[in-house]
Amino acid sequence: MSSIKLKVEFLGGLDAIFNHVREHKISLPYSGEPPKMSDLIRHLADNVMTDKKDHHIFIEDGSVRPGILVLINDTDWELEGEDEYELEAGDVLTFTSTLHGG
């Protein structure tokens, strides 16, 4: 069992369901294949989220719910392969709620 060290940020109020902490240092355990974004997202939902009843705020249909933007090293994850992106040590993963207030 190896692990990979990552920095995970929750912005746009999303920190509220992750213990009100905006920046997390995550050590993501894995065996075999290097872990993907989908593995990190599952890990965050299962092990980092404060309260399981907030699951639907973060996850929908097995991935991040609409209205949450995901950035991989400051770049839209759509440009990086989304769920399939292979994580590298030191990556910065940012999750932010879209804000609608004006």
Partner: protein, 287 residues
């Protein structure tokens, strides 16, 4: 009024002199501002500061869409209204003040809710749209209408101590709101400033940023070559910060802006596209 050249009177040169000497704007930028027509949708926490600086800068024509009236609870952040104007239409209250700030600006007010039935008729009189609104329903309508009209959108938003800023449909080649958000958020996940609260300076800062992005668009600072789709995120705490993220371009299958776009003006004006249904209604029982 002494006319100095084909563009400006002496009074205008005096008024705009300090910004015309800034290399990034220049006299050529000031001329473009004078002929520019800019529509601001929402005269609230974002719209107030954006309007103040756009009117100050000398945008030729400003449109203001807002059917809401000034409420006491607005005044901590909607700083161009005032206590004596509580109960007045926000668009008229804004016009009253802005006209005093800069009588050279033509201001047109639209005391209506932006709807499928009126968005095209209003947008067609303008060159740049500022989305200073409060719900995804209106944000999709603004983006779809602007995209079909071929107009860029300066899109701002904020809540509590944070904010977001982007430019949509830049030069009819940049991504639109639907490219970023093909599916709307679940309605229960959407919080307005009235519900979730907001600090005045936090939302105000985003509005001021929107004004500068508009000056850039009008003066030609952004070009097809140098424009990269972006989302800038502001945080007021713990240290005030801005982060700019590189965003996707147009989605190949976007319903509004791609080659395969299926949305037409008629589908919007006829009500065939129902934004309220698309975004869903809040089910308060879930909370």
């Amino acid at each position: 009024e002494t006319q100095v050249d084909a563009f400006f009177t002496l009074e205008e040169y005096l008024r705009y002199g300090r910004q015309m000497t800034v290399r990034e704007l220049g006299i050529s930028g000031q001329r473009k501002l004078k002929t520019a027509r800019v529509l601001v949708i929402g005269a609230g926490g974002l719209g107030c500061p954006a309007l103040l600086y756009l009117a100050g800068a000398g945008v030729g024509k400003l449109g203001i869409v807002d059917n809401d009236v000034v409420d006491t609870s607005n005044l901590h952040r909607q700083v161009l209204h005032s206590t004596e104007r509580v109960g007045q239409l926000k668009c008229e209250s804004a016009k009253t003040y802005l006209q005093k700030l800069n009588p050279f600006v033509e201001i047109e007010t639209y005391p209506v809710r932006l709807l499928n039935s009126n968005s095209f008729a209003i947008f067609r009189n303008y060159e740049v749209i500022l989305d200073c609104t409060d719900t995804p329903i209106t944000r999709y309508l603004i983006s779809d209408t602007a995209t079909l009209c071929g107009l860029p959108v300066v899109s701002g938003s904020g809540l509590r101590t944070e904010g977001q800023l982007s430019i949509l449909n830049f030069n009819n080649t940049g991504p639109c709101y639907r490219c970023f958000y093909p599916r709307p958020p679940p309605p229960n996940a959407v919080t307005s400033c009235s519900d979730g609260g907001v600090l005045g300076p936090a939302i105000g800062l985003v509005g001021v940023m929107m004004a500068l992005e508009t000056l850039k668009l009008v003066s030609g600072a952004y070009t097809q070559d140098n424009f990269k789709p972006f989302l800038t995120v502001y945080a007021g705490y713990p240290t005030q910060s801005l982060r700019t993220f590189n965003m996707r371009g147009r989605k190949a299958d976007c319903k509004a802006c791609s080659l395969q776009a299926s949305i037409t003006e008629k589908m919007i004006t006829s009500g065939e596209i129902n934004y309220t249904e698309f975004c869903g209604r809040v089910n308060y029982n879930v909370l």
